[in-house]
């Protein structure tokens, strides 16, 4: 049996997915990155290897997410792609009629506009990460509610509290204020969900035409409160796909399949990378005044890759 592996290493979670030749998702993992992308990828690979059918051959690997380059070098990726393309490829496979993708992840949020199965426009949050997963995590912790209960609390609210959502700092002080004047937790959480949705629609989705079908994915899609706030604000049905939190990884797997259909042999180093001692080191190149930050990647004692330089001197060194 043959399959393709997709790896999405984001700021908060590291996700893996394996698809077969027909595009069926065979297995997937969602793990927290905890600021250690190398360890997270190794752990996720270890877990997924136990779920794979016997004799499974990985014919191609794709990586995406903010640590896509690091993960790509580490496992030997055939294609390294940005998360916008990866998400769009994954989603349009399952929802050929999708015209809008709302994606909210750990530290970024994006909107992807699709027409006739092709991406025609997109936007990502710029200077502000208000309303992404990290902020929700932080607030759940502060309120002493497990994050997976957050959405349920919001749905129980009868009358949501008005929270300012344009900045996490203001949102937090607003929430504290509402607690102090006696609003109940459900109403505050529902208010927060609405504030985040308003912030997203006014900033990230500003000027974009949100047409149905609308697909909502990324880690934050697990929060029913946000889904219901989106439906309330847009007056449209929002679909949450089964694989909402690993869609980037699935897209990366499809991209790997597309790449390998063009011929060639995979660069995948195999599941042995689980046990390799990988480390990175950063250094500042002093050879010119650009002073690029170079990342050095080594396996054991051997340096296997450099990146981060503008001129390519380091990148082409090996």
């Amino acid at each position: 049996m043959k399959g393709y592996l997709g790896i999405d290493v984001g700021s908060v979670s590291t996700n893996l997915a394996v698809i077969d030749e027909e595009g069926t998702v065979l297995c997937h993992r969602y793990l927290l990155t905890h600021g250690q992308p190398i360890r997270a990828v190794q752990e996720a690979l270890r877990e997924i290897s136990t779920y794979l059918p016997k004799g499974m051959e990985i014919r191609g690997v794709g990586t995406t997410g903010s640590a896509r380059q690091l993960a790509g070098v580490m496992v030997g990726a055939d294609v390294v792609k940005n998360e916008i393309t990866a998400h769009a490829i994954g989603t349009t496979h399952f929802f050929p009629h999708a015209r809008t993708i709302l994606e909210i992840g750990g530290q970024d949020s994006k909107i992807i506009i699709i027409r006739d199965g092709l991406v025609v426009d997109f936007a990502m949050n710029t200077v502000c990460a208000a309303g992404t997963g990290s902020f929700l995590d932080q607030q759940a912790l502060r309120l002493g509610i497990p994050i997976d209960q957050f959405g349920r609390y919001a749905l129980r609210s009868k009358s949501s509290a008005r929270i300012a959502g344009r900045c996490t700092v203001f949102a937090e002080s607003d929430m504290v204020h509402k607690q102090q004047i006696g609003c109940n937790l459900e109403d505050i959480i529902a208010g927060l969900c609405e504030a985040l949705v308003r912030n997203y629609l006014n900033n990230v989705a500003k000027g974009k035409e949100i047409l149905e079908s609308i697909i909502f994915q990324g880690g934050v899609a697990a929060n029913e409160g946000i889904q219901s706030a989106f439906e309330g604000e847009l007056g449209k049905k929002i679909y949450i796909p089964k694989f909402f939190n690993v869609m980037g990884a699935i897209g990366a797997a499809f991209l790997a399949q597309e790449q390998m259909d063009g011929g060639g042999k995979t660069h995948f180093k195999g599941f042995e990378v689980i046990n390799l001692h990988c480390k990175t080191r950063s250094l500042e190149c002093k050879e010119c005044e650009n002073e690029c930050e170079i990342v050095e990647f080594s396996i054991g004692e051997e340096v296997t890759a450099y990146w981060g330089d503008r001129c390519g001197k380091w990148e082409n060194k090996l």
């Binding site: 903010s66 792609k81 940005n82 998360e83 916008i84 393309t85 092709l118 991406v119 025609v120 426009d121 997109f122 990502m124 710029t126 200077v127 000027g207 005044e289 650009n290 002073e291 930050e293 503008r310």
Partner: protein, 335 residues
């Protein structure tokens, strides 16, 4: 010994350097140009600047800091208006004041104004006569220096309008006084990306984080705002319900509209500055009209003094993927 005049490699250097340098050299000055923008310059410039200035002005301060101790005079002209019914950015109007009040001690500044308003065409020649009088009493010599400068400046802009890159156009126009050689480059069939922005964003690879190289590395050809003639810009601007008040704003909006109507241009990238009041609505006008005119994909990028280019790479890659995938489908459809 000749007088050393310092010119910062920033802001309007990217538009007027052939004229400035030629004029000053013809009058016997030694022109000292700062080096290309470096990280250190930007850090130092941002360190002395008030925080709400835009990134290019902060970088400009860094250039001044690197020059001030090795020149006799600093050339910081006050560009107020260069054409009828349009102004330069307020930061240019106040540039000599900002420089003088931010960085001290400084060598004397050459900061005469260029203001089209009320003076019409004579404004530029009067400016150069004033500057010239600092170095010569011979008015004929000054006027001739200005004429030679204008000729090279004309050649430089003409080369840019034929699609020659900034660096190459600069070299060619300064190395000989012959008219521009190369004709407008013929498109070899590579898909084209239109780059919209101000001269200093389009041409300083430190400010734009090497965007041109990044786009070309993906197999695209680039044309920029600077490749349009004034007539071409005005033709587009005249279609708007209201004129654009800023000279560079006019060029940006005009070129974006021109690119949107050019079937060879497969995508438009708009370069804007964080904290720039003009860009905030220029970008809106651009995106409104590009969308209205059809379906040319548009990417708006906002730059500031952030070092990391991770965010830029992600957006740019995704944007070019959009164009690649549309192109593939079109070819399939035709085949």
């Amino acid at each position: 010994m000749s007088v050393k005049v310092g010119i910062s490699r920033g802001l309007l250097y990217y538009r007027y350097f052939p004229l400035w340098q030629t004029f000053l050299q013809e009058l016997g000055c030694e022109v000292i140009l700062s080096t290309p923008t470096t990280k250190q310059m930007v850090s130092q410039g941002a360190g002395v600047a008030v925080s709400d200035l835009c990134f290019p002005v902060k970088a400009y301060f860094g250039h001044i800091l690197s020059l001030k101790d090795r020149v006799d005079l600093l050339f910081v002209p006050r560009y107020i208006s260069i054409e009828e019914d349009a102004y330069m950015c307020p930061k240019f109007l106040g540039l000599p004041d900002m420089v003088a009040n931010t960085i001290q001690p400084l060598p004397p500044l050459i900061d005469y104004p260029i203001n089209y308003k009320g003076r019409k065409k004579a404004t530029e020649s009067l400016f150069y006569e004033k500057v010239g009088k600092l170095f010569s009493r011979d008015l004929k010599k000054i006027r001739r220096a200005y004429q030679v400068g204008l000729e090279r400046q004309g050649n430089f802009r003409c080369l840019q309008q034929r699609g020659v890159s900034f660096e190459k156009a600069l070299d060619l126009s300064l190395s000989s006084s012959d008219g521009p050689g190369p004709q407008r480059e013929v498109n070899a069939g590579e898909p084209t990306i239109g780059l919209v922005g101000r001269p200093y964003y389009l041409n300083d690879p430190f400010l734009n984080k090497g965007i041109s190289e990044k786009v070309m590395a993906r197999g695209y050809r680039i044309i920029t705002t600077e490749s349009l003639t004034e007539t071409e810009v005005n033709r587009q601007i005249s279609k708007l319900s209201k004129r654009v008040y800023w000279s560079f704003g006019k060029e940006m909006v005009g070129s974006a509209l021109h690119f949107a109507g050019d079937p060879e241009v497969k995508g438009i990238i708009n370069l804007a500055s964080f904290g720039c009041g003009q860009d905030s609505f220029n970008s809106e006008i651009v995106s409104y009209h590009v969308k209205r005119m059809g379906n040319t994909p548009l990417l708006s990028l906002i730059f500031d003094e952030h070092w990391s280019d991770g965010g830029l790479v992600t957006r740019l890659e995704a944007f070019l993927d959009v164009i690649d995938r549309q192109g593939k489908l079109n070819r399939k459809g035709k085949g």
